[in-house]
């Protein structure tokens, strides 16, 4: 498992080179560079290329790749695999992501490190199967029932699809939680150059292991050490409310409260370590208008901001790289001197409403659905309309 000789031998043939590939394919190679040991998935447009590429390549690195009977099973299998100590992942799109919600909740409750890739397509339901969207932003946050926290990242290039797989696995292992790479169909299905790094630069985070006999589901730390199957610890893993030793207790109020609050807080209290944003602030610092975007939409957004600056307008720009936990502090700081923030996104305003909660200025949603990403011109027009 992990970075054994088989994997190093395989990666040696790929490292330190530039390729031209799909965002989906970059994600698959990124996973292999991240030490992914196990993939389980089910075909779905526009995420199938992740599975196809891993089915071809992962075995060459000694990893296992299987196709399950559905997405419920795929999510279940990666949780099972994770408890053997392996880095495990799945990839899907909206309809499959909906089915996975059940066992995402299980992974959260059992504190199982694993990675899900959601290549978002137009919904609800089957929607426009082949068309991109960013409609699962809130589903990623609240799709599974009950109080919980989640980590989700949004790449805006094929290169980031590659790079962020390492980040996802590292976050999953560090915080013992499922992590979602919230791609969109646009980024998944464009081909771009992707540079694979030197193997020596890969630094996978190690899971903190519990000492023999130590509680695996509680204790002093927000993130308890884990133990793996076959280590003689008789670990009991359950999605029901449990005590620090893993044993069920579904009736004592404070047991549930302590468990769920800790699971919630282990991400909330570490939000500043997790969150990444990217800012492009107008040089004279006198902007009154800002644009916040993420994923594919961040590309035409930045293009529009720069075009507006060329016209002499002061516009600030921020890209959300981490979607969840939400960058509320960073967004509030960004908004401090602004009168208005424009939020282009390929949905009807899911993140724009989230931004609204943390700023005092006006927030204007620039939504676009229908399966075609925003053009630079559309966002430019939205900017000039308010910045005249």
């Amino acid at each position: 498992m992990g970075f054994n000789e088989d994997r190093k031998r395989y990666l040696a043939g790929l490292e330190d080179k530039t390729y031209f590939m799909l965002g989906d394919e970059a994600c698959a190679y990124g996973a292999i560079f991240a030490g992914c040991d196990f993939f389980a998935g089910y075909p779905i447009t526009p995420a199938s290329e992740v599975a196809e590429r891993l089915a071809e390549e992962l075995p060459k690195a000694g990893g296992l790749c299987i196709q399950m009977e559905d997405e419920l099973a795929s999510m279940a299998a990666i949780v099972g695999a994770s408890w053997t100590g392996g880095r495990s992942m799945t990839a899907t799109s909206g309809p499959g992501f909906s089915l996975m919600q059940e066992n995402i909740g299980y992974a959260i409750m059992t504190e199982t490190p694993c990675v899900l890739v959601d290549v978002q397509r137009s919904g609800p339901s089957t929607g426009q199967a082949t068309k991109p969207a960013q409609g699962d932003m809130m589903q990623a946050r609240w799709g599974t029932h009950g109080d919980h926290n989640i980590i989700a990242l949004s790449p805006n290039s094929a290169q980031e699809c590659f790079d962020m797989m390492q980040e996802c696995f590292n976050l999953a292992d560090t915080y013992r939680t499922p992590v979602i790479l919230l791609m969109d169909g646009e980024i998944g299905h464009i081909r771009e150059s992707v540079t694979m790094p030197a193997l020596s630069s890969i630094k996978p985070a190690a899971r903190k292991m519990a000492k023999p006999g130590e509680d695996v589901f509680g204790g002093e730390e927000l993130v308890p050490g884990i133990t793996h199957y076959g280590m003689g610890q008789n670990v009991h893993v359950t999605g029901s409310t449990h005590k620090a030793n893993g044993m069920r207790d579904v009736t004592t109020p404070h047991v549930h409260e302590a468990l769920v609050k800790r699971i919630y807080n282990k991400i909330d209290d570490n939000r500043e370590k997790i969150i990444r944003v990217e800012k492009d602030i107008s040089q004279n610092g006198q902007s009154k208008i800002g644009v916040i975007a993420y994923g594919a939409t961040a590309r035409p957004s930045l293009g529009a901001v720069r075009a507006a600056r060329d016209d002499g307008k002061n516009i600030d720009f921020m890209r959300l790289i981490t979607i969840w936990p939400f960058a509320r502090k960073q967004v509030a700081e960004f908004a401090k001197n602004l009168d208005m923030i424009l939020v282009p996104e390929m949905n009807l305003g899911q993140i724009s409403r989230e931004i609204e909660r943390f700023v005092n200025c006006k927030v204007v949603s620039v939504p676009k659905i229908g399966g075609v990403p925003h053009t630079v011109e559309e966002i430019y027009d939205a900017i000039t309309e308010v910045a005249s």
Partner: protein
């Protein structure tokens, strides 16, 4: 530079856009390739777009293109309105009947018998896209010949490398004759 290839599935449309994009990356330029096709794998409408730039690419799916390469009549008719005024149109002259009334202003129009050449000279209609590629790139000079050759060699089925390269060179020759005229 935004180039759109259109045709039916099976004509190597997506591969053509891929090869140009890959060549641009080999040249150290930025490139994005994008494609769409129907759910059928053969015979359906098919397009492959490629954007080549020296700078950061902001537009992921540009509405209008600088170049349209059309290998079918429906593809030509559907996408000709999206060719920018002053742009370049290249069609297979035996497969597409152009109609000036539909076309944007001041475009440069080229019609070559790519499929016919592929069929008569190489016995393989399927490599018409290579004739087109060679022709188009010589005309527009977007990527270096070295990169183009490398990308073709890496991405065509094993055993057909020479055939594909020969077809591409045929297109290059055709373009050279064109400009000499």
């Amino acid at each position: 530079m935004i180039i759109r290839f259109v045709g039916f599935g099976g004509q190597g449309i997506v591969l053509s856009s891929y090869i140009i994009g890959k060549s641009a990356v080999l040249d150290g330029k930025r490139a994005i390739q994008n494609q769409s096709y129907g759910s059928e794998s053969r015979g359906g409408e098919c397009r492959g777009d490629v954007i080549i730039s020296d700078e950061e690419i902001y537009e992921l799916e540009p509405v209008n293109q600088d170049v349209l390469v059309a290998l079918t009549q429906p593809g030509y008719e559907k996408f000709i309105p999206h060719l920018k005024p002053g742009g370049t149109l290249i069609v297979d002259k035996d497969l597409v009947i152009t109609d000036e009334k539909m076309e944007p202003e001041n475009i440069a129009r080229y019609a070559i018998p790519a499929t016919d050449i592929a069929h008569k000279k190489f016995g393989r209609k399927i490599i018409a896209n290579m004739v087109m590629l060679g022709y188009m790139n010589t005309l527009l000079n977007q990527v270096t010949f070295e990169s183009l050759e490398k990308a073709v060699l890496e991405n065509v089925p094993k055993g057909t490398e020479k055939l594909n390269l020969d077809a591409m060179r045929e297109g290059i020759e055709l373009a050279k004759q064109e400009s000499a005229r």
